[in-house]
Symmetry: C2
Subunit: 383 residues, 2 copies
């Protein structure tokens, strides 16, 4: 890369998507290697666990029984972080009062769903083929579509499809929500207690901070660059540079972003300007499923372990101004904590909490390692 | 509290110090208690460990030998995240070029120190009396003073003192740095591998993001409120409300802030407007040592365990505009991950990384529990 020197000196990199900085200390990777070397592990979980609240046909905490589903299945979280209905909170607004200035709160309602990725208790996205991930992408699309504001230009998008609909049985939400956060926590290192492959979908009346921050930056860029998309321009640049690419297909680019905080952080970016899941046709959805399969398999191959991460999709808000919707560029983040092996992880603590995020290996080094991790899932070779 | 209803409904709270929001879901604390109940543990570490690179008289990685220190001792980190000297990086500035816009980096130099809190391998701040913590506060003050820009109004502050100077042997830094981050990572849960009580001090040419964000908010508040301090006003308000106070003495207020992200997060705030450590006289330094002792002892008593946390001091930048220095209000953050017991922790993952931080128990509930945890350190009663 032209900035070869950045491989050796400590420097800060700018994240234009959040408008924040991070500290990179590549010279620290020359420290003596003290991390443990773990041996490859086989997954020994059963295909079906009678005690799992996500396996087909099982009973859940509140007494409901899961259907005998064959690919994916959605239900309202029994312990939702936000509820559809609750008592009202209307604080008196008095801008002269210190309380209204420094003790500000606003009520939030919303709905939280759980979405399984497969009926098998012992599989993960890394074990699934793109074809098997496609129904998950379809389910995400259906759930997003079902919550879109009728006033959004996205509500009118109707692409021809040959895919059989997933046909989620979703009760209509009680209110129009502003944001939908689709995400997955995978692995005990990410606080996930159930290995059954699943993700979550939280919708809420407020626009969460991270989404709001990215929207501000995307709107600003679009305004200052004649309507161009920040992430569209970024994807173009990365395809020219070829320094941080992990994988690509016709629709998606997978990169370790220039500003990655987590050691092996990646971002799946739509090459064209797509605002949300409903903007993708059948083939593009398949390409998205392939990109997810490529990321998760490479992660598992990297340290020959079931790689923990949090992932999430950022797209247009369910309800927003035309400007907000048009400035949104579809992408998916993967934030994995592992650093050197199945047991040596990065902690976001101390300096990162008090001052700013810090990393040792560069995103270029991380991308090179993930590029080399393609091929068969390591577990399949152990069998 | 007047906002009793916030005990039952999900809501967002605003953090005026960062200009960000967080999601509070107090109804989730009504979930069945599934956390483990741990029994009280005694610390069984030796007072001196011949293999510890922080114990008095021991050799460190790079061959230096620690002095036989009696309270605190400072040295330059053998694996610093930033270095004093490195090759130069001067990217060509070309604002029309996508690279200069989307692949931005800047060089950072600085110096990283390690500072021990006690010669004893098996003590923590929670075990120390305010009188024993005072030398740590003095050492922090000396190190801050030694790095201050000679142009800063803070460099001229010289309060009468009766305390014996710590007399750190610090080589003068090669450059004028902009920011000093004093912090501690305590416990394996925070990635800290050495139990010997110690903290770190990183100085750097850049103003880190978190510090920059708080400075922007403090300057804005000061400007909009006739020169008042955001945290000064906030401390006054909390003393009136008496809902989130954990402890106070003449100089400091300890609260679970209205906008706390971590379950038992606390902030030590100077009641008066103090800009930095050098603004405190002897008595105020003792009060600060007492506040630290009160926080850390209560933490350990809460779940009868050595409580992990990251803590850090935010004060005026080493070098800055008069406006930046005057807007800075001295405070210390404690971010502890434990939620329900010694082993049940909160993870900042998934929704918090993709959307916004979320908590279940309210800061008011957390403050009430910490208020009740005063008294003798639980370990001393086991002996
Ligand atoms: Zn994003
Ligand atoms: Zn602060």
């Amino acid at each position: 890369m032209p900035e070869q020197i950045l491989d050796d000196i400590s420097h800060r990199r700018y994240n234009p998507l959040r408008g924040t900085w991070l500290l990179v200390s590549p010279h620290r990777t020359k420290r003596p290697w003290q991390g443990q070397q773990e041996s490859a592990s086989k997954i020994t979980l059963p295909d079906y666990d009678p005690a799992c609240y996500l396996c087909p046909g099982n009973k859940r905490a509140q007494g409901d029984t899961n259907p005998k589903y064959t690919n994916t299945f959605v239900f309202v979280n029994d312990y939702s972080a936000v509820k559809e209905d609750q008592a009202e909170y209307k604080p008196e607004e008095n801008t002269k009062d210190l309380s209204s200035l420094l003790l500000r709160a606003e009520s939030v309602t919303g709905k939280c769903y759980v979405l399984t990725f497969a009926p098998n208790h012992n599989l993960t996205l890394a074990d699934l083929s793109p074809k098997e991930i496609l129904p998950v992408v379809q389910a995400w699309t259906e759930i997003y579509k079902a919550h879109l504001s009728p006033d959004s230009p996205l509500a009118k998008v109707s692409l021809p499809t040959k895919l059989e609909p997933i046909g989620l049985s979703l009760a209509a939400p009680n209110a129009q929500y502003r944001w939908m956060q689709i995400f997955e926590n995978k692995g005990a290192a990410m606080g996930c207690s159930n290995p059954h492959p699943h993700g979550q979908v939280w919708t809420s009346t407020g626009l969460p901070d991270e989404a709001a921050q990215e929207l501000v930056q995307q709107k600003k860029y679009r305004h200052e660059h004649g309507g161009c998309s920040l992430l569209g321009d970024y994807a173009k640049l990365e395809m020219e540079k070829e320094e941080r690419i992990v994988f690509q297909n016709a629709t998606f680019l997978v990169v370790c972003p220039w500003w990655a905080t987590w050691p092996f952080e990646v971002m799946i970016i739509s090459k064209q300007h797509k605002r949300a899941l409903v903007d993708f046709d059948d083939e593009e959805k398949q390409d998205f499923a392939e990109a997810i399969a490529e990321v998760t398999r490479r992660y598992d191959n990297l340290f020959e372990t079931s790689f923990p991460y949090s992932s999430g999709i950022h797209q247009a808000p369910l309800e927003g101004t035309d400007e907000e919707i048009e400035a949104s560029h579809f992408h998916m983040h993967f934030y994995p904590p592992l650093l050197r092996s199945a047991t040596v992880r990065k902690f976001l603590v101390g300096y990162e909490l008090m001052a700013e995020p810090q990393r040792d290996i560069t995103p270029e080094q991380a991308a090179a390692r993930l590029r080399d991790c393609g091929g068969t899932l390591y577990r399949k070779l152990l069998q």
